[in-house]
Symmetry: C2
Subunit: 367 residues, 2 copies
């Protein structure tokens, strides 16, 4: 049974308010256009494989400012359908005109789910990746585009994606715990004041308040741009996606075991960090002349706007170099918003092949 | 003709995502409950007029944590219907129980627009005021409640509201202008980089980007907590609302002329500041024993979470003590979101009864 058939249909008004509306701002598009790692990867993927674009029909899913569509046209595409649902479509049209490719690039303002193209396409290009790859669930839309509009033997740009998880240390762990404790101390003062000055006892809400604050301070996964030396073990691959064949079912959950030996010198693990990479390998029928990779791992010189996703365990894990962190990560979509994620992390420290204690489970929300 | 009949119906999903969802957090309710000025005003309004509550049926529109409903019960109400649309209703129920008034306070989780009460009520109490009084447009819901459920001769708590506007000075004006200019300098660098490194000319978007940034930095009305000495003239009343009789039409626009002499010593006016007060006077049939006022004007000792709404003119106005600022403020609801406001401010400096220059108009958005 398809799990997605059980879901309530997406409320379009809420989806626009929560998700699409930010893409309607040039400011936000500019942030993506200023991400050099991202830009260089797509640019190289297209121009180093210009041979594959020459004379071809291309679909850009979510064209935003139009950048990928313009590049595809410059690389020699015969026709580029550039689909964008927000009013940013008007700007993409200007960019196509301003760069003299308006005869090749046809900007269509619509949700890709509602579009009817006059022909099938040779290549689908799209920058659909959200934080920790799957946040935003935009790849769903790319799948729809692919299944409806990609010719047999056509290529996906990017063609593959992977997700990684690694143990890490971070001063954020103590900081968040302190913020949480301050917030609860403030709550206690509030209850006293409200009782004394206004004659109402709010203590009956203490448990709910604590849960709410815990969720906010301790269970909300954080965006962070990590230094490589914050990682405490080699990253485990927790998901691999073939963009040519993946179904919505394949990508709507992540469920992976990991077993990661800790580096020498470690004595405490704050939690985990997650990131992704994508690859441009062309297609089996038309392999890339030059494979390109877009990597969002912690890096000293090249950071991306995606940063890394951080999951802090409270309390931190006591473990040392050579110990193995054995666990499981399960990610599902939030019940209230299919573009957000719930993450369940279970882990235990193993030394000499045996667990030092019972496994611990923590829940996180990617908001 | 009713202007509201021309409007598209409100999208409920978007309205929840944009508006109601914040009220579902205890953190947000606690902020309101920690606003001493607000709390003392409602507390006094109820308990100094306990005689009017004794044995009466009360409706609390948007009960949130339940505070006003519990007070009404403590003051002797026979029955309190406490209506709240978000899940905060569950917390209100706990607060009623925890304060031993669950037999009087009936919490109903519903939008007030959808509620059917078993009887009409003697008093409607509600804390419906948003920034600059009308942001959030929640008084619409109170009007519906009043027209459907208030007995003839019943009372509204609060009973009256007023809006004020005064000229002001603020260092924010120069700061915002600088931020805007930095942002545009950054844009120029971005256009150069994108052309040189990625072969795409984005200069065709300069005008749109400038408009977007202008709107963000210069035309977005700001929340601020002002010192009284930042005001440069006596405040003008720009709206008066009688909560017992006002219609949605009456409150969906503000349109007022003002003419404000500047205090001695002034040489520059940064813009305008707006705020409101509300009054608890009971009703004509049952006037309050003790009138209470909730004032959100700039104040040295007592600030509220509403602060003041700030409208900065760019460039600032050159004017001096004794000059008169003559102008007009027009506020309408945003086309895209009926809970947000568009403000048009037209003004000119008059000296000795004659305008020093043509009137200047500025548009602002209350987001
Ligand atoms: N279902 C859908 N239909 C059409 N556009 C979509 C979509 N889902 C997301 N988008 C758009 O896809 C864009 C993703 S951001 C990437 C923008 C651009 N391709 C670039 O690389 O710079 C956003 O502008 C968003 O509004
Ligand atoms: N149409 C409507 N129906 C029911 N509740 C509404 C409503 N419009 C707004 N509300 C609720 O009204 C509350 C306003 S905030 C005031 C809360 C509380 N009365 C107090 O004074 O502390 C919010 O909790 C909001 O969710």
């Amino acid at each position: 049974m398809e799990p997605d058939t059980k879901r309530a249909p997406v409320d379009k008004g809420a989806d626009f308010a929560n998700y699409f509306c930010t893409y309607g701002f040039l400011y936000h598009q500019k942030e993506m256009l200023s991400d050099r790692v991202r830009m260089e990867a797509y640019h190289s993927a297209i121009f180093r494989n210009a041979r594959h674009f020459r004379g071809k029909v291309v679909l850009d899913v979510g064209t935003g400012s139009g950048i990928l569509a313009v590049w595809a046209a410059q690389a020699g595409a015969k026709k580029v359908y550039a689909v964008e649902t927000t009013d940013m479509a008007n700007q993409a049209r200007k960019v196509a005109e301003g760069n003299n490719v308006a005869c090749t690039v046809e900007v269509i303002q619509a949700s890709i789910e509602d579009v009817t193209l006059p022909e099938k396409v040779d290549i689908i290009i799209s920058e659909w990746m959200g934080y920790f790859l799957l946040r935003e669930s935009m790849f769903d839309s790319v799948i729809i585009a692919r299944d409806r509009w990609l010719k047999p033997g056509g290529a996906m740009y990017p063609s593959h994606a992977r997700m990684f998880l690694a143990p890490m240390r971070s001063a954020l762990a103590d900081q968040k715990m302190q913020e949480f404790q301050h917030s609860m101390a403030d709550w206690d003062r509030f209850v006293l004041d409200t009782r004394e000055q206004f004659g109402v006892d709010m203590s009956c809400l203490a448990k709910s308040y604590e849960e709410e604050q815990k969720k906010y301070y301790l269970q909300t996964s954080l965006w962070n741009s990590l230094y490589p030396n914050q990682l405490l073990g080699a990253a485990a691959v927790i998901k691999e996606i073939d963009c040519l064949t993946a179904t919505v079912n394949d990508i709507s959950t992540v469920d992976a075991d990991f077993s990661i030996p800790l580096y020498e010198g470690v004595n405490r693990v704050s939690g985990y960090s997650g990131w992704f990479d994508v690859h441009f390998r062309g297609s089996p029928a038309a392999p890339a002349d030059s494979e390109v990779q877009l990597d969002t791992a912690p890096s000293l010189d090249e950071t991306t706007h995606w940063g890394q996703q951080v999951f802090l365990m409270h309390p931190p894990l006591r473990a040392r170099g050579g110990d193995v962190l054995a666990g499981k990560i399960q990610m599902t979509r939030s019940k209230d918003n299919h573009r957000l994620m719930d993450v369940k992390l279970t882990n235990a420290v193993e030394r000499g092949g045996r667990p030092l204690s019972h496994p611990v489970t923590a829940l996180f929300y990617i908001e």
